[in-house]
Structures are given as structure tokens and as C-alpha cells.
């Protein structure tokens, strides 16, 4: 009986946790969209003129402004945006009417393309880059961190620390360029990267992404190495580590089994943040390797004040940041049962 009650209450606790998280995600995303609308509203510059192009006559500019409903007050435009998101929206593009099904993020001012579709074409590229890279930076970063904590004070540790410092300080375009020149140019081990869809050809997908993965991972790994090292050293100083050493458990076991698990919490947190923000923030890597990802598209949209695209992309990026953090919280709780999901 009591067992049944206990299970029931933990189940509620977990469901409640997920629900609270989900509401939090929604509220955060709405807040983000409001902020972007306001920022773009107060930003100087004639959106209609930019959208229409420099050669448009004032009449044409006015026509564009009417079409984009740029003269509507801010709250009306925002309301249209919410409407489209929930119920879909019909857009007149001058000659025809285009239906944009829910969740509709509007049409690009520039190309009349539906933002939702645009994002769906860019997202796989960004996700491929980020998750592949994540595997690499975790292996490289955590491995280096553990090694340098273990070898603390010795020469090998100092060399590793030096390397990671260089990694933190080097911009991605330097590492990426050097990699490309050496691997693709001089040694001709790989062709210059060109994005191939995972669904089209998994092998080519991986080969072409190898260098982008590596250059993004090298930068990120440095931060992970430093974090893992300090967190490991902290854990290694804890009493329960002393216990297992005093009981003759080998150093490999002490480090791999006991210290690493304790040191992992901050790594999970950092990883969540980095994965989330890299989805929209790996602009340099995407540009350098010609990957048509979210980051590049976002920068371009900001350049031409393409509000619907900016809003849509920022929302998607925000979604990944928030989701990644929520996942990290769950992982925390799984890793350490003392964390109460409340």
C-alpha cells in the first residue's frame, strides 16, 4: 500500500516537473518573440525601402509597406504573428494568395518563402554540425580534463593545460582554415567540404562534416577540458574518494568510477548551454565551410531586416537552448538521485 502511494507521488512529481518545464519553455519563447518585435520596431531604418531594394520608387516602397502591413501598430502585427502560429494564415503576395499552415511563422519579407519551410531546410544542417561536434568535444574535452587532473603537477599535465589554453584562445576560422589548407589542400586527404544530406548519403555526410566538426569541437573541447579538470580536482579531494583509496581500490577505478561521476554535473550543464547556443551560433564555422545552416541565414536576415525570418530562427534557437537545459536538469536528477525534481 505504502509502496503504491510512494510510486504515485514520485510519478506525479516527475509529470509535474515536465509540465512546469513545458510552461516555462512557452513563456520564455513568447517573451523572446515580444522582445524581438519591440527591438525591430524601435530600430531606425526603413524596412520597406530595404525590402524593396534601392531602386524602388516611393510608390513601390509604399506598396511593399502595405503588403507587409508595416504601417499597422506593433501590437496588431504581433497579434497577427500569434494568430499565424496557432491557426495558420493566408498571405497575399500581390498576385496570388498563399496559405501558410500552422505553425506559421510568417513569410520572409525578402523571398516570400514561408519561414517554417525555410527553417526546416536549414535546421538539419545545423543539427548535424552541432551534434556531431558535440560527440567530439565531449570525448576530447572530458578526456583531456580527466587526464590532466590525474597527472596534476607533472609535465604531461602542463603540456595539456597549455594546449587547451591555446585552444580557448584560437578563433574557429584560424583552426578551420589551417585544417582545410592542410587536410584538403596540401595532403589532399579529403575534398573541400560540401554539405550532403544525411538521408541522401550517410557516408558522404560524415566525411564532409568531419572538418567542421573537428574545428568547432577543438574550440569547445578546450573549455570542457578546463571545466572537467577543476571539477575532477574538487571531487578527488572529497572524503569518499579517500575512503576508496584507503580500501585499496586502484587509482583507475577511483578516477573512472567514483571521481568522474561526481565531476560530471557541471559538464552536463555547460554542454546544455553550448549545444543550445551552437544551433544558431556556429556562424563562423558554417560560413567558413559553406554550410547552409541556421546561423548564416540568421545573420543574413538581420542584415536585411527580414523580421519574420529573424523571429522564427531566434525562436527555434531559443527552443533548443531551453530544451537542452531542461534535458540537463533531468540528466542531473538521473545521475544524482539526491536531486529532487521539484
Amino acid at each position: 500500500m505504502s509502496g503504491f502511494m510512494g510510486n504515485g507521488s514520485t510519478g506525479n512529481g516527475f509529470a509535474g516537473f515536465v509540465l512546469r518545464r513545458a510552461v516555462g519553455v512557452l513563456v520564455t519563447l513568447l517573451a523572446i518573440s515580444v522582445i524581438i518585435y519591440v527591438v525591430f520596431y524601435v530600430t531606425p531604418g526603413n524596412v520597406a525601402q530595404i525590402t524593396c531594394g534601392p531602386r524602388c520608387s516611393p510608390a513601390q516602397v509604399q506598396q511593399v509597406a502595405d503588403q507587409l502591413r508595416l504601417d499597422d501598430p506593433l501590437y496588431v502585427r504581433y497579434w497577427h504573428f500569434l494568430e499565424g502560429l496557432v491557426a495558420g494564415q493566408d498571405y497575399s503576395t500581390g498576385t496570388a494568395v498563399q496559405h501558410c499552415p500552422a505553425p506559421c511563422l510568417g513569410l520572409s519579407y525578402q523571398s516570400d518563402q514561408q519561414v517554417t519551410e525555410l527553417i526546416l531546410t536549414k535546421l538539419p544542417v545545423s543539427l548535424s554540425l552541432v551534434f556531431g561536434s558535440m560527440v567530439m568535444w565531449l570525448i576530447l574535452g572530458v578526456g583531456t580534463g580527466v587526464l590532466s587532473a590525474w597527472r596534476r603537477g607533472r609535465l604531461s599535465e602542463r603540456v595539456l593545460t597549455g594546449v587547451t589554453l591555446v585552444g580557448v584562445a584560437t578563433p574557429v576560422f584560424v583552426i578551420g582554415l589551417v585544417l582545410m589548407i592542410v587536410v584538403c589542400g596540401e595532403l589532399e586527404l579529403l575534398p573541400f567540404p560540401q554539405y550532403v544530406n544525411l538521408t541522401d548519403d550517410p557516408e558522404q555526410w560524415a566525411w564532409n562534416l568531419l572538418l567542421p566538426w573537428l574545428s568547432l569541437a577543438l574550440i569547445e573541447a578546450a573549455a570542457f577540458a578546463r571545466l572537467t579538470r577543476s571539477s575532477m580536482l574538487e571531487t578527488l579531494a572529497e572524503d569518499h574518494i579517500r575512503t576508496f583509496r584507503a580500501y585499496g581500490v586502484g587509482e583507475r577505478s577511483v578516477i573512472g568510477r567514483h571521481a568522474l561521476r561526481g565531476a560530471f554535473a557541471p559538464v552536463i550543464a555547460l554542454n546544455a548551454n553550448n549545444v543550445g547556443s551552437a544551433v544558431g551560433g556556429a556562424v563562423l564555422t558554417e560560413t567558413l565551410f559553406g554550410l547552409p545552416g541556421i546561423g548564416r541565414e540568421l545573420v543574413h536576415a538581420v542584415d536585411v531586416v527580414d523580421l519574420p525570418v529573424v523571429v522564427g530562427m531566434v525562436l527555434v534557437v531559443g527552443f533548443f537552448v531551453v530544451i537542452a537545459n531542461a534535458l540537463a536538469d533531468v540528466l542531473y536528477a538521473v545521475a544524482d538521485r539526491r536531486v529532487v525534481l521539484a
Binding site: 569518499h240 575512503t243 576508496f244 581500490v249 586502484g250 577505478s253 561521476r261 538521485r337
Partner: protein
């Protein structure tokens, strides 16, 4: 061949010599206690026996031989085979000493497998076996629990089980009961004793508590500054100490079994309190009886042993400094003053949590504190004594009941906290910290504030020139003096002290207790002294309230409560206090054992 042979052991950490030319031996099956205050080097010695200083950069000189292995010269592999298998160690804090991420049974099995190459399944079975051996009920199921799901006492049992797993020849116990409540402490010490009888393993007990050593070992070695002060059979060292330091140490130990310590008494110079003969101060209207029948029989017989101890150690207590000024213990209580009531609480209740999870940490507690009087509040962890203290100061709002004079944070009730390290801001000078209450009161004259802080510093036995120093420049005892000065700054009528001396060594503890008594006398303060240590509470209090499960189970004049406790729980608590006389300790152990067997038979 001896089990342990330490010859001229020296351990240095940089400039510091933690252990300096120490030698001793321990025969198979024998038990030795290393006793000393913090910084005496006793734990360093324990670590040296297992070669735990290796690779830490510490300098280790001399020879250490354990179970036939030369720890100094052994290879890393030989050392690993010694650790846990031939000599196992039990640590002070059983929560932090176990890995929070793994089940307790798995941790024990892991250690077992390191030394025996047993299969996973066999190791797991062995883990359950030893957990059962140390008295974990339903060991098979509980072995799958993680450390945080165990109580403090069960965690320590689990650590002892880990130590037993490979049937070592030597058990090293480093402050094994310091983090535990007194009744749990008694259980753990009894367990160690029984295990030793049954397995014949040797015991090296490291402790700061002479009482813990007295009942558990054959020989005692008193350490100070890394050297041997005195070494001999436990009865000799504790009964007729040859060295002045040993005597000092013994005298500083507060005793639960008899009055007459350096108890700050009321008739000092400048005593402002009017004394009128009258009935004893109000006894809490809520004193109620709650205790299981089984516990009661244990307690009752234990208490009679306790009275015996009182007479046994009476002689030594007479030699203590400060007794000369002491009036007979009962005096203050008998002349129980109807002095002004400075703090009164009626029907206090405090709940935490909401809905189904709500529980009352303090439930229906009433008490009265009079001017110049000390009220001791004693209880084990979780009894609600700290919550009560915080409500009295106004740091917590009661859920029900009221305190008069009432309302918010009361400036005339101040608090001294347990941990003098964390309760002072490390980034501000102590003078600034002490000045806080003055500034909070609206004092703006810098010169005046500085002058007042200097006075306060001198009042608590520090120097006025210490104003600009930072907390890390002071010792634990000095920091607690700073905490007391800060409490005094607001000119309080009542000071609530929450475990003010539990983080301090006994000799320092005695000094701080003496200071509190002096302040009470000279400033006419009332003290509420919250502590888990029954002996300290007896030493300082006029009235005492015994708490359990959020309620006051017994409340009255201190000598009455200690000498003829009415509540079974009080009796149980008193029976669990370690006695300084080894013979008495053995008698009490026998009583406890008999009571347990009785319980088991029922």
C-alpha cells in the same frame, strides 16, 4: 610480532611537523586510543598506518609496520593489498565518506572484489552478509539504498561493514562517532566492542573525546603537538594522570554525572540580580511523556549506573580549577528567583513544508527565561532545538504560539552561532562584523562605534587592536569570542547560543563556557544554551529542557533533571553518555547489552 609497530614516526607538511618522533606498538587483538585535541596529529598517524600520505607531498620519516608489512618501503601494489584487506579504516563523517552515487551494497562489494577476486554475485552476497552483521535490518533490501537514504548511525554501520568485508586484522577508527548523536554513539561503540570480541581484530581508535576512548580501549596514548604526552593502560592514564597536560585535558571535559564544574555561578562581584526565595521557576506546562517501553527499561538501568559514576568521579572533579568560586550546585536553583522574566514563549509551534509533507519541527513548546538565568535546551539532531532557538531570536516566525516580548527580530535577543568560521564574513574585518548591530541600530558616529567595538573586544578577552584583523587570523575559540562580542554589541538582555562550543576543543570549550558565565554574571544577561552535549548543558544551565521530536519531554531545574530524570527518554540519553571511568563504562555497556538481549528475547 606486533600487529602495529610505529618507530620514531615523523610526518611533515611543508614547514609544519604534524607528527614528531612518535613510537608505539599495538598487539594482535588489543585496542589503543590516540587521544588529543585538534592539530595534535592523531589523524595524521592513522593515515600513516595505511600509507595514505604517499603521493600527497607530505614528508614521512621513521618506520611503520602493519601486519608484517613495512608501509614505508612497500610497493604501491603491496600497499593496496594491505589497505582494506589487512587493515581497514572507518572515518569520521559517514555521509561524505561514502560515494553518493552508488548503492551501499555495491560499494562494499567493490571493495571486497578488489581484494578477493570474488564474482560479482558472491561479492554482493558478502556485502549483504556484513551489513546484516553490523545490525542493518533487512540488509538485502537496504543494501540497494544510496547513502543519503540511510540515517547517520546506519551510514556509520555501513562503513564498519565495509571495513569488516575482508576480515582485517586491524581496524582503524578515526573519530568514528563524532558526527553522531549520543545514543547512536553508544550503539556504534558497543558494536565495535562486540565485533572486536568476536573477530579478535585489533583496534586503533582516534578520538578527541576522552569519554569515547575510556570505554573502548585497553591502552591510551595522549598526543599533543605531534608528540606523546602520556601512554599507558587506560585506567592508569585516566585515573592517575602523570602529566600536567593530561590532567588539564581531563579537567576540561565537562561531566554529566555530577555538578561542581567551573559552573558560572550567580554570586560574582557586581551581581545585579535581586534574589528572592521562592518556588522553582515555572516548569514547562507541556512536559509530556513519550518513549517506547523497550527504551525505558534500558534507560532506567543505565541511569542507575550513571549515578554510580557520579560518585566515582567525584574526587577528580574537586581538583578542577574554578570550583573554588562555585557555590553548591543546587544553590541557584533552590533560590530560584522570581527575577524579571525577559523572554517567555507560550505554545510555540513551527511547521515546515505544506500539505501532506508538512511536519512540525517544534510542537507546543512553552518556556520562560529570567534575568541572569541560563536555560539549557538539550536534544539530539532533529529534535527541533535549533528551530526553537531561531524562533526565540526572531529569525523564524512561529506557525502558532507567541513569544513575549514579541514582534519580528528582537534587538534585545541576540544569537551566537555554532560555527564560528562560517558565521563571520571572511572578507570583512572582525571589527566591522561586530559593528554591524550598532550600525543597524542607527549609530553613525564612526569614532563612537570604533570605541565601543574596542570595548567589546576587550570584554570578550581579545585585544582592542584586533579591530582590523580578519577572521582567518584567529583560532576557533577566538572566532567564537568575536561572535559573542557581535551578539553583545546590541546590548541584548538575552543571548541564544546555538551549539556555541560544539566545534571547539575541550580546553577551548571550557574557556568559552567560562566567558559566557562571566558575561551573564556581570551584565545580568539571560542565556539560552542550545546543545546536544548533555555534559556541557549541565555545566552551564540553571534550568534545562530536554527536547525530542519537537516537544519538550522534560523541563526543570538542572540538577533535578540530571539526577532524578522522570522521562524515560532523558534516562536513555543520560545512560548513553560515555563515562570517563573505564570500569563504569564497562558496567554501562553490560547494562545496555542486557537490555538489548531482553528486547530481542521479547
Amino acid at each position: 610480532m606486533s600487529l602495529v609497530e610505529v618507530t620514531d614516526l615523523t610526518v611533515g607538511f611543508g614547514e609544519l611537523r604534524a607528527v614528531d618522533g612518535l613510537s608505539f606498538r599495538l598487539e594482535r587483538g588489543a585496542a589503543l586510543a590516540l587521544v588529543g585535541e585538534s592539530g595534535s596529529g592523531k589523524s595524521t598517524v592513522a593515515s600513516a598506518l595505511l600509507g595514505l600520505h604517499r603521493g600527497t607531498g607530505a614528508y614521512v620519516g621513521g618506520a611503520v609496520e602493519v601486519a608484517g608489512i613495512d608501509v614505508q618501503r612497500a610497493s604501491d601494489d603491496e600497499l593496496r593489498r594491505l589497505r582494506g584487506a589487512r587493515a581497514a579504516m572507518v572515518f569520521q563523517d559517514p555521509l561524505s565518506s561514502l560515494d553518493p552515487y552508488y548503492a551501499i551494497g555495491d560499494q562494499i562489494a567493490e571493495v571486497y572484489r578488489v581484494h578477493t577476486r570474488a564474482s560479482r554475485r558472491a561479492a554482493r552476497a558478502r556485502a549483504v552478509e556484513v551489513l546484516d552483521r553490523v545490525g542493518i535490518p533487512d540488509a538485502g533490501r537496504r543494501s540497494r539504498a544510496r547513502p543519503h537514504e540511510f540515517s547517520g548511525g546506519m551510514r556509520q554501520r555501513a562503513l564498519i561493514a565495509m571495513a569488516l568485508a575482508c576480515e582485517p586484522d586491524l581496524l582503524i577508527a578515526d573519530e568514528p562517532t563524532t558526527a553522531l548523536d549520543v545514543t547512536v554513539q553508544a550503539q556504534i561503540l558497543d558494536l565495535l566492542h562486540t565485533l572486536r570480541e568476536e573477530t579478535g581484530m585489533g583496534l586503533l581508535l582516534v578520538t578527541h573525546d576522552v569519554g569515547v576512548a575510556a570505554g573502548s580501549v585497553d591502552e591510551i596514548l595522549v598526543m599533543r603537538h605531534g608528540r606523546v604526552v602520556e601512554h599507558g593502560p587506560v585506567a592508569t592514564v585516566l585515573g592517575t594522570p602523570a602529566q600536567p597536560y593530561t590532567r588539564e585535558l581531563l579537567n576540561a571535559v565537562p561531566r554529566v554525572d555530577g555538578p561542581g564544574g567551573p559552573r558560572p555561578r550567580v554570586d560574582g562581584p557586581g551581581m545585579p540580580r535581586p534574589r528572592v526565595d521562592g518556588p522553582p521557576a515555572a516548569v514547562g506546562g507541556t512536559a509530556s511523556v513519550t518513549a517506547s517501553g523497550g527504551g525505558a527499561s534500558v534507560a532506567a538501568s543505565g541511569a542507575s549506573a550513571g549515578t554510580g559514576a557520579g560518585t566515582a568521579s567525584g574526587a577528580s572533579s574537586g581538583t578542577r580549577p574554578g570550583t573554588a568560586s562555585g557555590v553548591a550546585a543546587g544553590a541557584a536553583v533552590e533560590e530560584a528567583p522570581s527575577a524579571a522574566v525577559v523572554l517567555e514563549a507560550v505554545g510555540l509551534r513551527r511547521e515546515f513544508g505544506r500539505g501532506k509533507r508538512a511536519f512540525a519541527a517544534v510542537d507546543d513548546v512553552s518556556l520562560t527565561v529570567r534575568r541572569g538565568e541560563t536555560l539549557g535546551i538539550v536534544g539530539e539532531s532533529g529534535s527541533g532545538k535549533t528551530t526553537l532557538g531561531r524562533m526565540l531570536v526572531g529569525l523564524l516566525e512561529p506557525t502558532a504560539g507567541h513569544i513575549s516580548p514579541g514582534g519580528g527580530v528582537r534587538p534585545d535577543v541576540q544569537m551566537v552561532f555554532q560555527d564560528p568560521v562560517s558565521s563571520l564574513n571572511p572578507r570583512r574585518s572582525v571589527g566591522e562584523s561586530i559593528a554591524d548591530p550598532l550600525r543597524a541600530r542607527g549609530e553613525r558616529d564612526e569614532g563612537g562605534i570604533r570605541e565601543r567595538v574596542r570595548e567589546l573586544l576587550e570584554r570578550v578577552g581579545l585585544e582592542g587592536a584586533h579591530y582590523d584583523r580578519y577572521p582567518h587570523e584567529f583560532s576557533g575559540g577566538q572566532r567564537q569570542r568575536v561572535g559573542i562580542a557581535r551578539a553583545l554589541a546590541a546590548d541584548p538582555r538575552v543571548i541564544v547560543c546555538d551549539e556555541p562550543v560544539s566545534a571547539l576543543d575541550v580546553t577551548t570549550q571550557a574557556q568559552v563556557v567560562a566567558l559566557l558565565g562571566e558575561l551573564r554574571r556581570e551584565l545580568g544577561l539571560a542565556l539560552v544554551f542550545v546543545a546536544h552535549d548533555l555534559a556541557v548543558v549541565r555545566q552551564v544551565s540553571d534550568q534545562v529542557a530536554v527536547m525530542r521530536g519537537g516537544r519538550i519531554v522534560e523541563y526543570g531545574p538542572v540538577d533535578e533533571v540530571y539526577e532524578s530524570p522522570r522521562d524515560p527518554y532523558t534516562r536513555q540519553l543520560l545512560a548513553a553518555v560515555p563515562a570517563l571511568d573505564p570500569a563504569v563504562a564497562a558496567a554501562r555497556r553490560a547494562t545496555r547489552r542486557a537490555a538489548r538481549q531482553q528486547l530481542a528475547a521479547v
